[in-house]
């Protein structure tokens, strides 16, 4: 009898532990908020540092009965894996941030993100989105997700260093190179550069300004990494590295600190960099200014401006799917974006939103205002197929560090691109 009891107890314990090990979290809560009641939306992002800005947005959105329950990841790779895995559970996120380009296409292909075509139509009718931005969110003629943010990519410069050597904001590539040489001659470091995360950015800036067609052609497989226009860019880049125009990429001090201290005179970054400079009390217009990167090739008619945009997506089948779409529509409104721009100290995708920072406001006006001669280009990271971009981090990371002969790296990239595009046919 005792033995039987032990057996039964053991078996029950085993079963209980297996269930505990295998069981998911079945919260069994109500089926969301309907009928215009206040709703709390589960929101997941890899922008953990932006939590105070989202808290401020909650104060605004609560007036419309919507609050974000913020979960921020600081490791983007872990975040991406979490989002992918969540689609295999019954806890699909109501709202989450993601990436445009191929990674958004992957979610669209699997039917995991809610369509937002109607929201875009309404926003375009209201003038809440600029021309061309919609392309980043369009797959097979339909839109998915809405823009969380945009960032233009200008050059930030240290005003004190420029004043010390009597330098003016460059109008042309030749001016920029002359400034760099003057700084090097005086023992200064002209440019910031990184060999991780943003190793591709100088390639992007120079190629867009040397041959916009080649820059776009690489994104579609119509141009080759071994084309003369691309090779020319790499040779120019190598010349700049060899001439000492860039900081040692092994310096891991924050770029905003390096720029504010004058350890580098210029840093090519997205406008999110303004927020990072504000965080260390650098004053826009006093301590630093911004200018747009001149075209490397003077024969290119339009100035080129790189734009990155991050999407805010609604998970299909999430608990509050409709409410999350309502939030997305609210997010694009003028008042929401004015608050956002002010809280982030950054530009907004909505041309009607006020941009508080005078430097950025002038930049936006220059790029998108009346009579602008700028062509907006997608950032290299999002614009190119993921396998090619991933290999580029290796090739450009090595190039930034060691400035080797560029051809073997370009040939590797071209081989990867050809393999990718062959698969797409």
């Amino acid at each position: 009898m005792k033995r039987k009891t032990l057996l039964v107890t053991g078996a029950t314990a085993s079963l209980a532990m297996i269930l505990a090990a295998c069981g998911g979290t079945d919260d069994g809560e109500g089926a969301g908020n309907e009928g215009g009641e206040d709703v709390t939306l589960g929101f997941y992002t890899d922008k953990a540092a932006w939590e105070p800005s989202f808290d401020a947005m909650n104060e605004e959105s609560q007036k419309s009965g919507m609050t974000l329950d913020f979960t921020g990841y600081s490791d983007p790779t872990a975040f991406d894996s979490f989002i992918k895995q969540s689609f295999r559970t019954d806890s699909v996120p109501d709202l989450f941030t993601w990436h445009t380009g191929g990674q958004l296409a992957d979610l669209v292909d699997q039917g995991l993100v809610a369509e937002t075509t109607d929201l875009w139509a309404e926003a375009e009718a209201n003038g809440s989105v600029p021309e061309g931005l919609i392309d980043n969110y369009t797959y097979d003629g339909k839109q998915y997700c809405v823009p969380l943010n945009v960032a233009y990519w200008p050059v930030y410069y240290n005003k004190a260093v420029f004043e010390e050597y009597d330098l003016e904001v460059p109008e042309s590539w030749a001016d920029l190179m002359e400034i760099a040489q003057t700084l090097v001659d005086n023992g200064e470091v002209p440019f910031h550069q990184m060999n991780i995360i943003f190793e591709f950015v100088w390639f992007q800036a120079m190629l867009a300004g040397n041959s916009p067609e080649s820059y776009q052609g690489l994104q579609t497989g119509d141009a080759s990494y071994t084309d003369p226009e691309v090779v020319e860019v790499m040779e120019q880049w190598k010349h700049m590295i060899d001439s000492g125009y860039f900081i040692d990429p092994g310096v891991t001090t924050d770029p905003q600190t390096l720029l504010a201290n004058g350890d580098v005179a210029m840093a090519y970054f997205g406008t999110f960099f303004t927020g990072q400079l504000t965080d260390i009390d650098a004053k826009s217009g006093e301590d630093y200014g911004v200018f747009t990167m001149p075209n490397m090739n003077p024969d290119v008619e339009n100035r080129q401006m790189i734009l990155e945009t991050g999407p805010l997506c609604v998970g299909v089948g999430s608990e509050n799917e409709q409410a999350a779409l309502d939030y997305s529509a609210w997010w694009m409104t003028d008042e929401a974006q004015t608050t956002w721009s002010s809280e982030r100290g950054d530009v907004s995708f909505n041309p009607n939103a006020d941009v508080a920072d005078p430097e950025l406001s002038a930049l936006v006006e220059e790029v998108t205002g009346e009579g602008s001669n700028y062509t907006i280009q997608q950032r290299y990271l999002e614009a190119n197929p993921l396998p090619v971009y991933t290999l580029s981090t290796e090739v450009f990371g090595d190039f930034v560090t060691n400035a080797p002969d560029p051809m073997p790296g370009l040939e590797r990239l071209q081989a990867e691109a050809e393999a990718y595009w062959a698969d797409q046919k």
Binding site: S14, A78, K84, Q110, D248
Partner: protein, 309 residues
Amino acid sequence: MAAPTVTAPAAPVRPAPQNPTRDAYRWPARVFVLPGLLIVAVLLYLPFVWTSYLSLTEYNGLGDPEFVGLEKYQAMFADAGFATSLRNTLFWVLGTLVFPVGFGLLIAVLAHGIKGSFWYRVPFLLPYAISGVAVGVIWTFILQSGGALDEALMFLNLPGADLRWLLDAPLNTFVMIAAATWQGAGVNALLFGIGLQSIPKEPIEAARLDGASGWTLFRTMTWPMLTPLTTVVIGLSIVGSLKQFDIIWAMTKGGPGASSETLALTMYKETFVSNDYGFGAAVAVFLTVVTVAASVIYLRRQLADAKGA
């Protein structure tokens, strides 16, 4: 000569259970072990089987994996980066065998027999309490271009201030092995210290009476008697170095380029950064096979030696 007496072989006698109570509890005991076994199977073996399957598929983490046979293994062996990863992993195995184990032994031997030797080992043991990522951050501060080490070398007018510690391969791998040595030597010293304390005094004293001392005493007496512990320390070191990840991730992320990647980093980057789960799984399977094979070969050899002795 008398014919040999042939006797029927004795029927094998099943030895009577020495402890009937223990036998009676055997089945219930097994039932109680079941949850543990099942948890190990579910959390360890099933994922491995799943990973092995994924290595035969094309999969980006969304939707369903598509079976492609051995394509990912072919791609893995053809990839130039894989050869670099393999080379760096080999550096790590050799480096962590020589340095953390070697220094651990040296510290333990030097501190052995000294009054309060435990306290001599404590400073070496403390880094082991720090996570690998924190160790990486500390050493990045020291080794980055213009970092603490460069500044110190310049101040002291010593050569080396212009070396790019974390940028040039394979120097970057070697300095990261140094960081791992700083972290791991203490725990090896602790283990060797325990081993030294467990060596019986008599044979050592006998050897001393025979005139052995210093290096000879260590080589002929102490070292052979430390073998069981050395087996464990070296076995752990091999496994640990084969799957080395956190220090490298914190210090170089496998770069610049892929110059300091190890197999564990390649596995992670292919899976979660490149979203090529099949390729990452193939590297994971390869790494598992290498780790298990290295452990089994080493342990079998060591245990056979111990038996032979």
